[in-house]
Symmetry: C2
Subunit: 105 residues, 2 copies
Amino acid sequence: METSERVGRYVRMVAVEGQGTELAAALLRVADGMSVQPGCLAYVVNAAPDEPDTVWVTEVWSDPAASEAALNRDIGEAGLGAVLELLAAPPEYIEVTPLGGPGLP
Amino acid sequence: METSERVGRYVRMVAVEGQGTELAAALLRVADGMSVQPGCLAYVVNAAPDEPDTVWVTEVWSDPAASEAALNRDIGEAGLGAVLELLAAPPEYIEVTPLGGPGLP
């Protein structure tokens, strides 16, 4: 398989019941901050059509170090504090290695 | 939650044992064809770092009709025939509604 420096992941987050909209809004604020992080190629916040309290984030980074740096920033600075408070359970991660295709920056 | 015309999905496909690389290659060919489909905003093929025979595709479409049209084309024309032959099981779909964030065309 073509090895690619880029890393990605799908992150599934479930809000405390009834807080799905707030969770999506908090993550969209986080996404704004991520857009200026070096190596952030994608940080797309998604609702889950059939699960009102579930939010998925699609992440793509230029390399593992960029991902580490952005996600290990001070939680407050990244706006992740508000997100963590809304979660009913820890996030679930599906790690992927982007290989190619339209839409991949 | 902000309703958005855009639709997306994560598609998980598992190849017959040992055929993960071939499956990714076949899907990259499909991705090439998708890039000229109206409304195709993303069709990104990903390897799964810990599962050599698993391939994930991240799809984003401008609207449901664009997704339907592209995916209901003649399987041969779309190159999906080669993909189906390599699968060990039917694809799994996680439907999502993209809301915003960097990397969302």
